[in-house]
Symmetry: C2
Subunit: 231 residues, 2 copies
DNA sequence: TTCATAGTTCGATTATAACCGAAGTTTCTA
DNA sequence: TAGAAACTTCGGTTATAATCGAACTATGAA
């Protein structure tokens, strides 16, 4: 009879909102300890411990013991992919007021996704980097080319420093609003920080972000991105 | 805060075993009425009704009213994709005895997936049809080419009759054992039936299937498939 | 050795939702 | 117009699991 894997078992692991919060945190920041995950999910350490055990048993997470700490990470790219697929079909958050609706628009144009750029701008930027030959798109990841090494050096992003960090240099992140991949990982974070430093982008209320006048000029000159494409 | 869609909401809808059984049934057979789905999930009609309402509200399913019947179908390819991704990361069904283990092997080589061919043989067959130019692989589906029309006619599969059926002619089905797509839908079913009729394959206990001696010869001559590839 | 920090295990409480019987609505058939 | 079939709604029961307090283990620091 049941000779197929039971997908509802995995769905059940993802269905609890506390576990979902922890998974979401781990999607971008690999290797968080239980206490940190408990905080992010707004639950006690005991409860978190129980949830994490279940997630490890279900092969959604891996643990690494380092002294008295336990660092959790997503067990496999497939897990991240599955979560992203679920996000794509999940209903968009409710819009109650007029303020909410303009916020919703802004957030689709450009926003931060944890610590990197997402939305139309995030996808456009990633595409531009690929077209210019600075990034190469793999099935599961983005890779920095030799030209890319030079470009990021010129752009004042220190790849070697980023590689030291305890996380992936690059990572594919499925954009739920654009249904395309954008760049995440340490490099995605590095680019975001650099764009803020340059004053090319500014924070709007919430997670939304707007391109400044300098940014408009800069993005066009370095990567050929026009803000018209953002609409 | 919550400006991202909540994937745990979708996961919750898929997490219940009764709902999962109904979704699984609908993955291959589009357009089943509530009563049929209740039977397949082994629950009462009342319970099924409640579940189906939730699945429609969550945009996982669509309903079409035809008189006093209500035909349910998967709302979007993305939903099927998401379920298949979950199946890929779900733990394989437990193997208890020696019998189970040889059965598990057989089932990975060739099996029926509802009403079409899956496993190594299913994937190989699909690949062969593509290589010969009979099938064209789209992002979301397989399409029959002009050469394909001729081939299936010669192979005694009536495409026009299959097109009359109330289901997709072709459909991509992600193979959880092979991690590749194989052909499903009315054509996938038509091929399975034809292969049984020709005596090229035979049922083993369970869902497993074996290639006969005639089948070995036939598959090689028509599509260049050797059983060595099946191992 | 002592204390603190990180995490686990146990037990009791509580909230959620799956389930079905019974009664209702809608549509088809005769 | 009556009756049956397909499905929904309501109400009460029950099972599951998320939650945290309290007590435990293990590692590190003083």
């Amino acid at each position: 009879m049941g000779s197929r894997p039971d997908f509802s078992y995995v769905a059940k692991l993802m269905a609890d909102s506390s576990r979902a919060a922890m998974l979401e945190a781990l999607l971008d920041l690999d290797g968080l300890p239980a206490s940190e995950l408990a905080k992010r999910a707004n639950i006690s350490l005991q409860t978190a411990s129980g949830h994490l055990t279940k997630l490890v048993e279900g092969n959604l997470l891996n643990v690494e013991k380092h002294g008295r700490h336990r660092y959790y990470r997503i067990a496999h790219v497939d897990v991240a992919q599955a979560i992203e697929m679920l996000t794509v079909i999940a209903p968009p958050p409710k819009i109650n007021s007029l303020k909410d609706s303009s916020r919703a628009k802004n957030i689709q144009i450009a926003r931060t996704c944890y610590d990197h750029l997402a939305g139309k701008l995030g996808v456009l930027l990633t595409k531009a980097l690929i077209e210019k030959g600075y990034l190469y798109e793999d099935e599961n990841n983005f890779l920095v080319t030799a030209e890319g090494e030079q470009f990021f050096y010129d752009f004042n992003i220190d790849l070697d420093a980023l590689r030291q960090k305890r996380r992936h240099l690059t990572r594919k992140c499925l954009d739920w609003s654009e249904r395309h991949y954008h760049l995440a990982g340490a490099l995605g974070n590095g680019i975001l920080i650099r764009l803020f430093d340059l004053g090319w982008i500014e924070r709007l209320p919430g997670r939304a972000v707007k391109v400044t006048d300098t940014g408009e000029k800069g993005l066009y000159e370095t990567l050929g991105i026009t803000t018209k494409e953002l609409i």
